[in-house]
Symmetry: C2
């Protein structure tokens, strides 16, 4: 690939993006699409009067949404999207900052060194190959490799410094979130599972006895979890249909208590103070650690009711099974893809289906089959990944939706890093990559060989997959289509908030982190990728702000639990970059540069360990000082009781969700 081809590709993608963003700015002004593009706003305002007045302005593209997204403050994001949305924004801000520094250093120091790295006659800049701008062009044993080493130091140090301050401020925000969030029944509630069965006593009585025995001063009340039997399920379904026919306003508890419920060995227990609830979750309750298992209850909207009925004793087995399933899925994912793609080779296809032979000889069909079909097949397979991982995470048995999303996020992250980053870098394809697993030590060397040559692929990847994903995100083609079909085929002109979804952190966080990983590993080796990456992050910053404010609703949140994932992945990216650099310096026969990079790895790992000591406990445990400080505010038993009522009513209404 030469510079001209790169510029052409960039121009095409820029044009496409501008076109799609303009289209978006028109579409969003159409009242019929308001539920697609302003779902959250409509849901929060409960104002569904369509502004159906016609005006010319509606069909002129305008950048007003960009201005609005830019002007939104962090406090507004916090109020609208919660701490998780802020954490996601901070991830983007961190990326923009660190890659700005990297871009300045790399474009002004590393790029000239690479370009003049060998004594050769340079062609006109347009016709120059991309390879001339990578470290591959620096001759072996060159003294100029100190430039790369220095840049690596500057990027690593600035990344660590920025990470530190982000972690610090997010920790502070999390503590503030815990203290200042409005009084919530889940703060006083714990979930007790695996209540031991005793003959002649109901679970409810066991719970009452246990907590009045051991937590007499702080125990308030409890609610056993029920499982809907078959009859119950039919009744719920019938009720749902009734609700739809009568159009009963949504969101109110409508499920009556029913004598057909079956008691389960799980219960919500409510305490008088928040502190007492936290204490009850920190201690082992019983000499058998697998009975009377306690944890803080999720918020009512966050509870994954279907998983409450899973016996606790199964959980460890379920975790192992899903872990194995995930690993197998991850490692073998490319096998069926490769197989199906192999079928698109014309010879094989015509061998398998001889009657197609005449059809396949046509030129257009030929082009489509060989040019587009493989990537379409890959894309289709990739679309199955988030639902599959979400399914795995459900089977794992978390009791909260946020926990399930977090677990799916991790799984998709591992999947993306393995299948997009590693497998693409290993020349022999996935089978070879699989073999490499057995000799872990060779991976950095293999990557060091591959990275300078794969630069053009990943520049294109940023341009196409990165930019296109943002256009796609902002356009919401799937919702748009559904909405269109609903309105024009089913003649249903009423906007309903049924289809509103919460922010898909489990797909977006891994995507952003993957681009971060690509950015770090390529920054020093092939700096030309950085401008395109910076544009991606800037666009992402605007697009996701717009989406948080307008589109996605906040049903529940994890309180910033995403940040440790971001932090750890960034540290992983940094260390991988440094190890690859050692490999590349080794190949370039510069032992001094290699040697100088080793302390950098050690320092990065020490920094990570320090952060693990200093900040990460806050994300795992509750802080006594913080909880004690605000416990007195909600201590009147009457206010507590009303909250408990609310909690149970939520349980009722969501039990069938």
């Amino acid at each position: 690939m030469d510079i001209d081809a790169l510029l052409t590709s960039a121009a095409i993608n820029t044009g496409l993006s501008v076109l799609l963003f303009s289209l978006y700015s028109i579409l969003r002004k159409q009242p019929s699409n308001s539920i697609v593009y302003f779902g959250r706003r409509l849901a929060s305002l409960n104002n569904r009067n369509s502004r159906n007045h016609f005006s010319f302005e509606r069909f002129v593209p305008s950048p007003s949404w960009i201005v609005k997204a830019w002007e939104t403050t962090e406090n507004e994001i916090l109020a609208i999207g919660g701490l998780d949305a802020v954490v996601f924004q901070r991830t983007l801000v961190f990326s923009i900052r660190v890659f700005s520094i990297a871009a300045v250093m790399c474009l002004f120091l590393v790029l000239p060194v690479n370009y003049y790295g060998q004594e050769m006659k340079h062609k006109h800049i347009h016709a120059e190959s991309l390879n001339v701008f990578t470290i591959a062009n620096v001759k072996e044993g060159s003294r100029w490799l100190w430039a790369h080493c220095l840049t690596l130091y500057i990027i690593s140090c600035s990344a660590c410094v920025l990470l530190y301050f982000e972690y610090k401020s997010i920790t502070k925000m999390r503590l503030a979130h815990i203290t200042t969030s409005p009084p919530n029944p889940s703060h006083f509630t714990i979930l007790v599972r695996s209540i031991p069965y005793s003959v002649g006593e109901s679970y409810s009585n066991s719970v009452k006895k246990f907590f009045t025995d051991y937590y007499s001063s702080s125990y308030l009340s409890h609610q056993i979890v029920y499982r809907c039997g078959l009859v119950q399920k039919l009744m719920v379904d019938a009720e749902k249909i009734c609700t739809k026919i009568k159009a009963v306003p949504n969101g109110q508890p409508s499920l009556k208590p029913c004598c057909l419920d079956n008691e389960r060995s799980a219960a919500f227990v409510i305490f008088k103070t928040r502190y007492a609830a936290v204490i009850a979750t920190q201690m082992l309750q019983s000499p058998n650690p697998m009975s009377w298992v306690t944890e803080l209850a999720p918020e009512p909207h966050d509870v994954l009711w279907s998983n409450l009925c899973i016996p606790f004793r199964q959980l460890w087995l379920r975790k192992i099974v899903t872990l194995l399933a995930t690993v197998v899925f991850m490692v073998l994912f490319l096998a069926p893809v490769t197989f199906v793609q192999g079928l698109t080779q014309l010879e094989k296809l015509s061998q398998t289906f001889p009657f197609l032979r005449g059809f396949l000889k046509q030129d257009l069909i030929n082009h489509v089959l060989t040019g587009y079909l493989p990537s379409v097949i890959l894309m289709l397979f990739l679309y199955t990944v988030p639902p599959t991982m979400m399914l795995f995470s459900s089977v794992e048995g978390p009791v909260s939706r946020s926990g399930r999303k977090r677990s799916a996020c991790l799984k998709i992250l591992y999947f993306t890093i393995w299948n997009v980053f590693f497998v693409n870098h290993v020349s022999g394809g996935f089978l070879y990559a699989f073999n490499m697993l057995s000799s872990v030590g060779d991976i950095p060397v293999e990557l060091a060989k591959a990275i300078p040559n794969q630069a053009s692929f990943f520049v294109t990847y940023v341009l196409t997959s990165g930019w296109a994903s943002l256009s796609c995100e902002v356009m919401q083609p799937f919702s748009l289509l559904c909405n269109f079909l609903k309105k024009h085929l089913r003649r249903n002109h009423e906007d309903s908030s049924d289809g509103l979804v919460s922010f898909p952190y489990h797909t977006e966080v891994p995507r952003v982190l993957l681009f971060g990983l690509i950015g770090f590993t390529y920054s020093v080796m092939a700096p030309l990728i950085l401008p395109f990456l910076l544009i991606y992050f800037l666009l992402a910053y605007l697009v996701y702000r717009n989406q948080v404010v307008n589109v996605y609703i906040r049903k529940y949140e994890s309180g910033g639990q995403l940040w440790p994932i971001v932090h750890n992945t960034t540290i992983f990216s940094l260390v991988l970059t440094q190890m690859i650099a050692i490999g590349v310096f080794g190949i370039k026969k510069s032992p001094i540069a290699s040697g100088f990079t080793i302390p950098l790895i050690i320092c990065t790992l020490l920094f990570n360990e320090y952060c693990r000591q200093r900040f990460s406990p806050i994300f795992k445990k509750n802080v006594a000082q913080v909880i004690t400080r605000n416990r007195f505010a909600f201590e009147s038993p009457s206010s507590c009781l009303s909250k408990v009522q609310f909690f149970f009513s939520c349980s009722g209404s969501y039990r069938d969700g």
Copy 2:
């Protein structure tokens, strides 16, 4: 090695052991040695009247000590040596049981299969090579390998069943230990470290303020930890000398409070109830997880006073540094040994020191140098291991002696398994073994190749190192020598309990576990090792009982924390055995036997995971139900206060220890 040689070696070692045990039975009857062989008894009785009457009986060996050791009940061991001693005894009982089953299966099923494994003319049994009795003698593709596979199943299953019941009963004992142990000031006390410095306020005031603020209902009192300054140290030394001269009775607090102490950022905080103390250690105290760090205080005798002054912020760094130092020491240990042993080769020695040439030509010198010196050098180097690991564990910064011992135990365990087991099995020596680390997957195959051939080495190892270590343990040659020198050279005839030590779990547990590992890996491959191993375990059972009852004092205990180490190592041994079996079955071209072993590995790992869920939390956290149940017994403030006084007096007397 043939059977005759093996029998000769066994006869020599048996003779030697009988001789040493007889010598011991005489030596222990000599009143002058009573402090060596009855140290614990004398210390507990405070009865130091030497029974100096002469009798002929004193010089006749008798097996009375064996009978006494055999008759000691587990309750007596518990009362005398504490839970740790019982756990050690249970480890030996477990080994005896599981290897009895293994011996029956292997000697009656596997041994004949091995012996008649190939169609060959057998020599007379005396002249038969040991190899004929190992799996190496079974021909490739033999159908009789099912016998080995079945035996492996029976051994693994019985080991898991026995492990389960041991874990269950030890968990129960630990819970009983927590509830029924006599009221101890440390139960009510927590150690607070990293108290933040605030200008114009002493640490003592900060602690008081913090705990009256947040634990007003349960906080009782506190004591700041002081560091002895230089002047203080000199005074302590002076006082020690005074004590020696005046022969002031030992064990009473004699250190007066001194104005030269420097306050440290650590304190002991005493609560009114045990439950409150535990709660204070379970919560994060402050938004900065690196300040106000709490943990349960060790017993007064268990506190490692010198480490209390280490700033908490250093701990994570110290842990990393000692971990690295341990790994380097472990991996490189054999390098200097090999080098020094190389020097004992005569040619090299005479090249380096030409003037020795005549001296080295003498036959005796020659034999000594080549025959014994290498193993003596290895032994001397091996003696440096426990003190080195203990030093590493001290530097790590644990606040309790039992914690330090446990950490050293783990380090020595890893060291032993690596340097005795792995390095001896890898044909190319330690450098090759080091290379193998990079391709972890090959280790089982390498071991599978090596194990049948190394059988004779390890049979000899059990005979010499195992049996000899027991004779050495019971004889206590070092203490005996010290005692002799003290009495006869320094003319000091007074027995003092200064030299009494607590049980060296950190050296004995790894030794027993190593023999367990050898036993499991060789049981199916070379069953002839099992009788010798069984004798070792039976002897060990008697010897260590005797030592617990008579020799070692119990200064402190960890409450059974050794068992998880034993359990995990046994599971590791089992899985390693199974992996080696897969390798051996593969070499013997029996894919069915290999395939049948894979589910066994999975089941063993699942069993381990189950135990981790079911039992191990009890060894990490306190159980609310158990602590709540016995909190009311000690709740009167006056009894508490007297305990606190006692604790502080202990602090005083041990601060210089």
